[in-house]
Each structure stands twice: as C-alpha cells, then as structure tokens.
C-alpha cells in the first residue's frame, strides 16, 4: 500500500472514530449532564422531567430531620436564601459531616409531588472543604 493511500485510510478511520465518539458524547451529555437545583431555582424553572437525574443543594433546615421505614430512610427539608423549600428523602447512611443547619448536595430525582429522592448525599467534606455548588449561596447568605 502506498504511503499516501495508507495515510488517507488512517485519517479516515481516525476521523470516523472521533466523529462517532463526538456523537456519543453529545447525546450522553445532553441526557446525563445533571442540572443543579436550589429551592429558588426550582421555584423559577419548575420541576424537571420525572426520573431525570439532577442535583439539589442548600442548607438542611434545623428541626426537620425525621426517620421512616424502621429508621433506614431519612427525610429533611433543604432551604436557601429564598422562601422556597425542597423535601429530600434518602435511604442510607448520612455522610460523616451531615448536620442540621449545614450545607448538603444530593443527587437523585424529583417525584411529581415535588419531593426529591436522593441516591447519594454529600456534605461538607472537612473543615476546609465545601461543596463547590454551595459557595454562591454562602456568599449571598
């Protein structure tokens, strides 16, 4: 095979793969990039599609933490600087630094009634670390 023909094939194949990957990435990002909702954003934009994975963040309102399902599910209310709230349910163990009054970021999806079922909870990781999504909230508060 002549070097030029080979180069043509090589670049053709590589371009095809890159194109395929780009298309995959485009659809994967469109479907799976998780939007971030604070109670205020939720009030503005309305509920996302049911079952669509999103993130929710804010402060755990003190005095709202309750347990159900024999103690395996926790439920609490997330607030921000707006008058709105989001009710979050989570089946599992709270992160080490989960506290009422502290920041929390949850990944999961909304039910039609507006309650949020989380499959993962993140809290402040250590004294120097704060989930990045919450920084604007803190500055505003």
């Amino acid at each position: 095979m002549r070097a030029r023909t080979r180069r043509l094939y090589t670049f053709g194949l590589a371009a095809l793969l890159v194109l395929g990957a780009a298309i995959l990435a485009f659809f994967a990002l469109r479907e799976n990039a998780n939007l971030f909702y604070t109670p205020e954003v939720l009030a503005e934009k309305g509920l996302p599609r049911e079952g669509k994975e999103v993130k929710v963040g804010g402060w755990v309102e003190p005095g709202t933490l309750t347990y159900s399902d024999g103690g395996t599910t926790m439920q609490f209310i997330v607030i921000d600087n707006s008058p709105n709230i989001i009710t979050v349910r989570f089946n599992g163990v709270a992160p080490d630094l989960f506290r009422e009054g502290q920041g929390v970021v949850a990944t999961g999806s909304f039910a039609p009634d507006g309650t949020f079922t989380a499959k993962q909870l993140l809290a402040k990781h250590d004294e120097n670390y704060q989930p990045r999504e919450l920084k604007p909230l803190e500055a505003g508060g």
């Binding site: 799976n32 990039a33 089946n91």
Partner: protein
C-alpha cells in the same frame, strides 16, 4: 534545621539551573554531575521536612497545620506529603531524582542528546522548585510556635494513602523525563530506534508506579469512603486516568518506533502530551476549579501559576514539535492489516477515550462559563468511555498475532467463530441460567476473551510449551498486563452489575437480612485509639453455615474535629461482604444504629487485574540479559 532544608532547596534550584545550562550546551558530564548533586541536596532538604514532622516541630507552619503529637509515627512521616506544600516538595524531589538516575544510567552513546535531555529535565526541576519556593513554601516558621498541632486530615491516616502519593508522583513526574527525552530528540531531529528504546524504558518506569498509585487510591476510596464503589468518575480520579491512558498509548506506539522506526512524530507527540496531562491533572486537583468528592486543600492562585506553567511547557514542546515533526522519517512500509495498523488503532482508541474523559471532566467548567451549574456523572462515562474502549478490547486477542508490515489474516474466520461461540455460551448460560443482563454476559465474555487471548498469544510465541519460560521478558510483561486487563474487565463487570446494597437500622440485639446474609448487631462499644475515639459495632453475619464477625467503626478525631467511617469487610470466595456504620437514630422510641451493607462480588479480581498490569510494567523494566550492550553497538555504527 528547617532553615538548612530551605537553604538546600535554594542550592538545588541553582544546581538544576546549572544542569539546564550545561545540558543545553551539550556538556553531558557536567550536566550529569549537576543533576546528581541537585538530587543529593534536595534529598537532604526533604529529609529536614520529614525530620520536622517526626519530631513534631510545631514552629514549622506546615507541621503545625498538618501534624499532631499523638498521631502514629507512620502517619507523621506520611504527613510530610499529605498536604499541598509537602507534596510539591515531593514532586520536586522526584523530578530531580529522575534526572539524577538518568544521569547515572543513560548510555545511548549520544552525548549531545543525553546532555540536552538532562538539560531540559534540569529546567523542569527549576520550574518545579520555583513553584515550591515562591508559591507554596513548606519551610516557613511560625512565631510563636503553638504547643500542639492541627492534624493530618484523618481520612488520609491510612496505610494505602500513605504510599499512594509517592506512587502517583513517580508516575506523573516520571513523564517529565519522557517530555525531556522528546524535546531533546526533536531538537536533534532524530526520533529513531535509539531514542525509542530509551523512551520505552522510561515509559515503563512511569506507567507502572502510576498504575499502582491509581489502584491504591481506588482501593482506599473503596474501603474508606464507605460508599461501596471503587471509581466515581470524580475529576480528581479522571485527572490521573488521562495521563494513564496517554501513557498506555505511548507504550504501544513507542514499540513501532523502536522496531520499525515508524510513528516517529506521533510517538514524540504522545511523549510530550503524557507530561502535559500530568500537569493538567495537578491543575485540576489543586486549583479547585472543579468539584471533587475527595478532600484537597485548594487555592485558585496556585491554580493560575500551574496553568501558566502548563501553557509555557506546552507552548515550548508543541512549538518544537510543529517545527521538527514534518522532517521526521516515516520508517518501514506497512499496510493497515499489520501490527503497525493494529497498534495505530490501539492508539487512536486510547486517545479518543482520553478525550471523552477530558470532555466529561471539563464540561461543567464550560457550562459554568455560560451561566449554568451542571455536573457530569457515571452515566456519561458509561455511554462514551466504555463502548469506545470495548472496541479495541474485542480486537486485541486477534490483532496481537499480526506480523509487522503486512499480516496474514487467513485465520480470521476461526477467530470470529471462537469469539461468537464465546459470546453465545455466556449469553445462554448467563442470561438463561443465572439471570444476569445481556450486557453483563457480554462483558464477562469479553474478559474471558482477553485472558484467553493473552495466554493463546504466549503459546503462539513460545511455539513449543517448553520454551515459554525462555521468552523475552518484554513478552511476559505484555502477557501479564493483558491478562490483568482481562481480569479487571471480569471484576469490573461482575462488581458493577452484581453489586447488592441495602440499609439496615438495628437496635442492639436486632438483626436483618441482606443478600442472603443474616446480620445481627451484638453490641456497640466505645473504644479509643492513639488520636481518636470511636463507636465500634460488633456484628455477626451468617449464611449457609458460614459465620463472620464484622466490626465497622465510626471514629472521631478530636484534634481535627472530624469523624471518619471505618468499614468492615469480610472476604468470601465470591466477593466482599462490606458494612459501614452510620449514626444512631431515635426510631419508635428506641435507639437504632444504621448500617449500609453491600455485597461486592469479585471485587478482588478487579484489583488483582490492575495489580497485574502494574507488575507487567515493572517486569518490563527489569533489564534482560541479552539487552546489556546496546551502547557499544550504537557507538560502533
């Protein structure tokens, strides 16, 4: 004491600068001497830092912020690199160390090339040291010195995390010398066999520890975070995966340059990119531009300095590349159906896979520029990275038998039949009998295909079974790595698709059932360690006559004011029974403790696979008896 270390670091920067000047002027011997002396003084400087940690000298700001007298000795020492400034000191030490080892061992017979490589390594050392001394100095004193220190982040007080940073840095920084070799080769315009042989050895020297570093970090995340998983597609993890993928591509492409003088420009480009991606990783981790679940002290200003360094190094190397690459020779002729073609496909796939990781990692930043806060998680990577990589894994056992130049593919029908039969068997047995998903059955078949293919290739190369152990070490190195890859695929598929998890809330004496295991909470006891106290649960797990005692803990480190989760893992032949202890909850008038219980099937197979990949890399580094006299051959040409 620490002032001596501070002074030694200044001496090291001067010696590295001398190394750079001598090297670029082509003075091999002087550059080598400077490199070795720079290493000696930097090692002394690093020892003064370790000494400050060991003796808990809280007048040193770094020690006061990151250590504590009650901390066990091993974590006092590991604390030296368990923080930003100390880890940058380690980065400098490793950069200079690679230069010194190269100065002592390089023997290509090309004085000017070696001198230039050492010179560029010296300048990289100057850059790293300047960043250390002027942007993140670990040598600063506190006045007055506090009586007691803060604490190393308790999450990092762990055996795997004590050796994870040095391993990772041997990998990241190992690529600095490959960068130097590439730049020196491009300056000479000679990217040929001799160059490739040198780059291949150093690529293994970086790739093997990088593999272990990533594996240790992953294993740590598995048992320490208490989330049951081993990879979270977190930016910090992706930052280490990208140089690894590029390093893997480089290992395959440099073989073509070594054996056939082909892919010269491409190999040189990969050699440059591997290090640029290592710095990009440091930037992503240290600047705090991305959200990570892992704890890192971040500082946007340092991020800016790292970004400028990245642009300077990148601009220099890519400029050199654009100038010299068009003049490089093409090597021996080949067709697409050949070993060259197969290795090219390997490279394209690995690089495209690395780019999908890059896109997924940076996309939140791009979106933020447009005013939207989003994150990209596991589903994106499962839809892009996984299928792209699967392509090359399917082909691997077939194409590794292809010859250089032009391969004979008469046997392709047999390969296709064998592959189809394998998939059919796994689909029938897996989906039909064991009720797993079709995707999982296919993934398992792929893993078995890879392991079988690697063994088949070994057999093919040995021709007769008796010669298997006489094969060159690099063949064994490749075989181990490919078997490891297959085992990793098997473990990853089984663990990801077969993981079982549930939450239990138990009062003392209560019990529940997860994945067939009956789990009883016998008691909760308060215990104390050297620098922590803890609630420790004693659980008895029973299944089909097996009994195991698990003792997960929730520790509290008062000095750091921080709790950590210590999971308990019971190994069975089929996988890990894994329990993390949560908090106490008041439910129905009684106190219940909550537990997250996982059954992670074949997770050890996954880690064994990665370990074999790393061991394969180290085996390839071991000099073989026959390759002991290359310099003489080159000198006589």
């Amino acid at each position: 004491m620490i002032e001596a270390g501070h002074f030694a670091a200044f001496l090291a920067i001067a010696l590295s600068l001398a190394q750079g000047i001598f090297g670029l002027r082509g003075e091999r011997r002087l550059a080598g001497l400077a490199a070795i002396s720079a290493f000696a003084v930097m090692a002394l400087s690093f020892l003064t830092l370790i000494n400050a940690f060991v003796t808990s000298d809280f007048s040193v700001a770094l020690v006061a912020n990151n250590s504590h007298t009650l901390k066990p000795m091993v974590y006092k020492i590991a604390g030296t690199w368990g923080n930003h400034e100390g880890s940058m000191a380690l980065w400098c030490l490793v950069t200079i160390g690679f230069g010194a080892i190269a100065a002592a061992t390089m023997n290509t017979g090309r004085q000017v090339f070696e001198a230039r490589a050492l010179g560029i390594q010296g300048l990289l050392g100057v850059g790293a040291l300047a960043y250390l001394l002027f942007a993140s100095s670990p040598y600063l004193r506190l006045d007055p010195a506090p009586f007691q220190g803060g604490e190393l982040n308790p999450l990092l007080q762990d055996p795997a995390l004590a050796i994870h940073p040095p391993m990772l840095y041997l990998g990241y920084v190992g690529y600095s010398f490959i960068f130097a070799l590439a730049a020196a080769g491009l300056m000479e315009g000679r990217i040929d066999r001799v160059w490739a042989k040198e780059v291949r050895i150093w690529s293994l020297a970086a790739f093997a520890p990088l593999t272990f570093g990533i594996a240790l970090g992953s294993y740590w995340a598995y048992y320490e975070l208490g989330w049951g998983g081993w990879w979270f597609w977190d930016p910090v993890e992706n930052a280490s995966l990208m140089p690894w993928l590029i390093g893997a591509a480089l290992l395959h492409s440099v073989v073509v340059t070594e054996k056939r003088e082909g892919f010269a420009a491409w190999t040189a480009l990969l050699a440059v990119l591997a290090f640029l991606f290592s710095i990009l990783g440091a930037f992503l981790v240290r600047s705090g531009v991305l959200t990570s679940v892992h704890a890192f002290a971040v500082d946007p200003e340092r991020g800016t300095v790292l970004l400028m360094g990245l642009l300077a190094y990148g601009g220099f190397a890519l400029g050199l590349f654009a100038w010299r690459a068009p003049k490089l020779e093409g090597g021996k002729a080949w067709t697409l159906i050949s070993r060259e073609g197969a290795l090219m496909a390997n490279n394209v796939v690995l690089i495209v896979a690395a780019l999908t990781v890059l896109l997924g990692t940076l996309f939140p930043l791009i979106a933020e520029a447009f005013g939207r806060t989003i994150s990209v998680g596991e589903p994106y990577f499962n839809l892009t990275f996984v299928p792209i990589l699967t392509l090359i894994l399917i082909l691997l056992p077939i194409v590794q038998a292809w010859a250089w130049g032009k391969a004979d593919v008469k046997g392709w029908l047999r390969w296709a039949a064998a592959g189809a039969a394998l998939v059919a068997v796994f689909l029938l047995l897996g989906v039909g009998l064991l009720d797993i998903s079709a995707g999982a059955a296919f993934g398992l078949a792929l893993g078995v295909w890879l392991v079988g293919g690697a063994i088949w290739e070994l057999k093919r190369r040995a021709i007769t079974p008796g010669r298997v152990f006489k094969l060159p070490r690099r063949v064994w190195s490749m075989t181990l790595a490919h078997i490891g890859l297959g085992l990793f695929v098997i473990g990853a598929v089984v663990e990801t698709t077969g993981r079982y998890e549930a939450t239990l809330a138990l009062p003392e004496g209560g019990s529940g059932t997860v994945a067939g295991w009956n789990i009883t909470l016998d008691e909760i006891r308060a215990i104390e360690g050297p620098n922590w106290y803890a609630d420790r649960a004693v659980l008895t797990a029973r299944k089909d006559g097996q009994t195991a005692t698990l003792t997960p803990m929730k520790r509290y480190y008062p000095a750091a004011a921080m709790p950590t989760t210590e999971t308990a893992i019971h190994k069975t032949g089929a996988g890990d029974l894994y329990i993390a202890l949560g908090e106490a909850r008041e439910v129905d008038g009684e106190s219940r403790w909550v537990f997250r219980v996982y059954f992670n099937p074949l997770v050890d197979v996954l880690f064994l696979g990665v370990t074999l990949i790393g061991l394969g890399g180290f085996l390839g580094l071991w000099p073989s008896r026959r390759a002991a006299r290359p310099a003489a051959a080159e000198a006589s040409l």
